[in-house]
């Protein structure tokens, strides 16, 4: 009975379950980023360094075009990291396959790709990436270098290359988060390869010695002791196992399992009274549905039986029967499709964040279904599938939002087209251009008149002066007429003198004011010319704007329609895959519950067998006693 349980717990607590937090952001090596060749590179890194990977993915195309050939492999690495972060492993694998021959990239880029491969459990790729990162380790900080060595250690362990793993581990610092993790994984590797007790002991002592004062480090050490203890128990080293289980702290996440196996180790040493204590603590401190508690409930009457405390054992088995019958009833109720799908939906609504790496994992509050599925929730494969299910849920929401947006874009394009048609830009512009032509013609005429003035004797004269000039001219004719009409004795000198004076005054005034009037006329002409030039520029801009206005809607409606069709077909596809995923998850949960039920039935049957055995023993004893009394009476 003990061995299958040990195997189950060993599987549950395997290294793959121990997810490593991926530290963000990804920081490409500074020397390569300091002076972006162009905007595309800089904008890509801005999104990349601010963890906006969807936006960074949008910029990849521009990045490839802008960077030279020798930098393309760095872009490939960035692309692979983005794809893995978004959970698109197949595409990442395809790009990675092209990468292998061309390996010029910064150490950090390799490191962060290695992280992603590690998170996906792709050990060979993680090893390859980390190995290349190590070649330029001087570009990395100390913590990053330790992480690289940890990656190499873990990937070597997973590929069963223990010596290689040990070599990398020996290069690591003795203390620190990465050293703790590497040491733990090495321990698991030694256990799986049936290493000697001394080897395991040595590792455990180092773990305890170099333990950091952080909850994660303490939890790792506790887990190491738990696994080592289970291994020792499995191989009959009960005393050693007991010592290991004793090391697990009471407030550790592994305390429940520790208490359970501590009890078993004591039982195996026939230390029955002592074995009951950790199980009583377990049942007091942990919920009834905890797998360790369930097992301890069966273990206690079993121990009583071994102590020949038949009555207590019998009572214990009867309690087990009651409890298990109740649990079986609960599981029966939970196994329906509807219940499980409701739980899945509730779990979906509890989670937060976008799809891919940006999901914030939130545990669902305790419920009958969550409690029953506790074992399944610690399975990495199931958790990954749940994560994918959530991704599809968020993708569906995103596609619905994008569909609405596309609809709005269509409306916007129609509106733009309508507004531009109503504005009647072409006709209005044509009228304005005609007005402009008229004005230019008028300006030309003015210019000619202005130029004609230069040729005149009396230029830039005012209207009154022109009239005076005309009067002077006409007065000459009058004087001549007077001269002819009257006798020669008439004295016209006074008239002539007056004419000369008026002419002189006029000439003086005209000459005196001519330069000012010429300057004023020239200035006004040039101002007018300037204004008309601005008007010409404005008309040109308006013409351009009219030409450009078509770009705001022409050809875009068809593109948006095509996008809408793509969205619709993708929504249908996502819905289909989502349904399949839901069915698959439901089937897995039902399978798990069936297996759980089977285990409970096994406990129940053991309890019933034991009960029957105890009753049978009691009956046999009773019959034997009765026979003895009869014989004694006969003798008497």
């Amino acid at each position: 009975m003990l061995k299958p349980l040990v195997i189950i717990f060993a599987l549950l607590l395997s290294p793959a379950c121990f997810a490593v937090e991926i530290a963000w952001p990804l920081l490409p090596e500074q020397a390569k980023v300091v002076a972006p060749e162009n905007l595309a590179t800089g904008v890509f890194y801005y999104h990349y360094l601010n963890e906006d990977y969807q936006a960074a993915a949008n910029q990849l195309k521009y990045l490839r075009v802008s960077l030279p050939a020798e930098a393309q492999s760095e872009v490939d690495i960035l692309e692979i990291t983005l794809l893995l972060a978004l959970g698109i492993e197949q595409q990442a694998q395809q790009v990675f396959a092209k990468l292998e021959g061309n390996t010029q990239a910064s150490a950090r880029a390799w490191l962060f790709m290695a992280r992603r491969w590690l998170a996906h459990g792709q050990w060979q790729q993680a090893d390859f990436s980390a190995d290349h990162g190590l070649q330029n380790a001087d570009q990395l900080s100390d913590d990053e270098y330790q992480e690289l060595l940890y990656t190499l250690t873990l990937s070597a362990v997973e590929q069963e290359r223990l010596q290689r793993a040990k070599n990398y581990f020996e290069r690591m610092k003795e203390t620190g988060h990465w050293a703790d993790l590497a040491r733990y994984n090495l321990l698991v590797a030694f256990i799986e390869s049936y290493a000697a007790v001394q080897t395991i002991n040595k590792l455990l002592m180092e773990a305890k010695l170099h333990q950091s004062d952080t909850p994660e480090s303490r939890a790792l050490v506790d887990r190491s002791y738990l696994l080592a203890g289970i291994y020792m128990l499995d191989n009959g080293h009960n005393r050693q196992a007991e010592q290991y289980f004793k090391q697990i702290q009471q407030d550790s996440p592994y305390a429940a399992e520790g208490l359970l196996f501590y009890g078993w180790s004591l039982l195996e040493q026939s230390n029955y009274y002592a074995a009951l204590q950790p199980w009583r603590v377990l049942q007091q401190n942990y919920a009834d549905w905890h797998p360790a508690v369930i097992e301890s409930v069966v273990a206690v009457p079993h121990t009583m039986e071994m102590m020949n405390a038949s009555t207590q054992a019998l009572r214990g088995y009867e309690l087990v029967e009651e409890r298990i019958t109740q649990m079986l009833g609960n599981i029966q109720a939970l196994q329906s499709d509807q219940q499980l799908q409701q739980w899945l939906q509730h779990w979906l609504e509890q989670q937060q964040g976008e799809w891919g790496w940006r999901r914030q994992h939130i545990e669902v509050e305790s419920s009958a279904v969550s409690q029953s599925l506790l074992g399944l929730m610690s399975d990495t494969v199931f958790r990954n599938q749940l994560a994918e299910y959530y991704d599809l849920y968020k993708i569906q929401q995103q596609l619905a939002k994008q569909s609405q947006q596309a609809e709005l874009w269509q409306q916007m394009l129609a509106k733009r087209q309508q507004i531009l048609a109503q504005a009647n830009g072409a006709e209005r512009l044509q009228k304005l251009q005609q007005q402009q032509a008229k004005l230019l013609a008028q300006l030309d005429e003015l210019e000619q008149r202005w130029q004609a003035q230069e040729l005149q004797q009396f230029s830039y004269t005012s209207e009154s002066q022109k009239r005076l000039l005309q009067r002077l001219d006409s007065v000459v004719a009058s004087i001549k007429l007077l001269q002819q009409a009257n006798k020669p004795t008439r004295n016209l000198d006074a008239y002539k003198e007056r004419w000369r004076r008026n002419r002189g005054l006029m000439l003086w005034e005209m000459t005196y004011n001519q330069s000012a009037r010429e300057w004023s006329a020239t200035r006004e002409f040039w101002q007018l010319d300037g204004i008309l030039a601005e008007m010409r520029t404005q008309l040109t801009h308006s013409q351009l704007a009219l030409e450009w206005s078509a770009f705001s809607w022409q050809g875009l409606q068809e593109q948006v329609s095509a996008m809408q069709q793509r969205l619709q077909s993708l929504q249908a596809r996502v819905h289909e895959v989502q349904q399949q995923q839901q069915q698959d998850l439901t089937a897995q949960m039902q399978q798990y519950l069936a297996g759980f039920k089977k285990r409970l039935l096994s406990y129940q049957s053991q309890a019933r067998l034991a009960t029957a055995r105890l009753y049978d023993d009691a009956l046999q004893q009773q019959l034997a006693n009765a026979l003895v009394e009869q014989l004694e009476a006969k003798h008497d």
Partner: protein, 166 residues
């Protein structure tokens, strides 16, 4: 018994194969969504800012090791004023050479005045405000302007200017 074991193992095999196919389908869907998002982004850019009327403004710290930007304000012609307040992460990204896309909008042809105000702190912890105005001309190509902050070796304080990209 043998046949029973064989059937059970076949069922288990097909169940595993189903799950693997489902994972492949999910990844294919994600890939399609990623490609769609890229195309949607491009279409959105064309819709919102056609190349002929597009004006895009960027911001970078080119070697401005002493200056830490806190806030940026950009006014361009009659466009709405753009404001941005920087987080630590964004400042770190800028220091590593990243270029921030500040705004993308539409503008008519001709001359436009761009007024930029950057509030921040110098390496001595003193508040520093960098403000300048420049006139640019919009033609039919996209007008891409980068506000570049650099260290001024002469005065010991940072300064900024506008770079036009083609």
């Amino acid at each position: 018994m043998k046949y029973l074991i064989l059937m059970v193992s076949m069922v288990a095999f097909y169940a595993q194969a189903d799950t693997a196919r489902l994972t492949q389908d999910t990844q294919a869907v994600k890939n399609a969504v990623l490609e769609l998002n890229k195309d949607l982004y491009q279409l959105e850019q064309e819709l919102l800012s056609p190349a002929t009327t597009q004006i895009a403004i960027y911001f970078s710290l080119r070697g401005a090791t002493g200056f830490t930007p806190f806030a940026l304000e950009v006014k361009a012609g009659k466009l709405p004023t753009v404001h941005h307040v920087y987080t630590e992460r964004e400042v770190e990204a800028l220091r590593m050479g990243a270029v921030q896309p500040v705004a993308s909008d539409n503008i008519g042809p001709g001359e436009q005045t761009i007024a930029v105000t950057i509030r921040g702190q110098d390496d001595r912890g003193q508040e520093q405000i960098i403000a300048f105005e420049e006139t640019v001309e919009k033609h039919s190509e996209p007008l891409l302007l980068e506000v570049v902050v650099t260290d001024s070796s002469q005065r010991g304080a940072a300064s900024a200017h506008l770079t036009t990209w083609h």
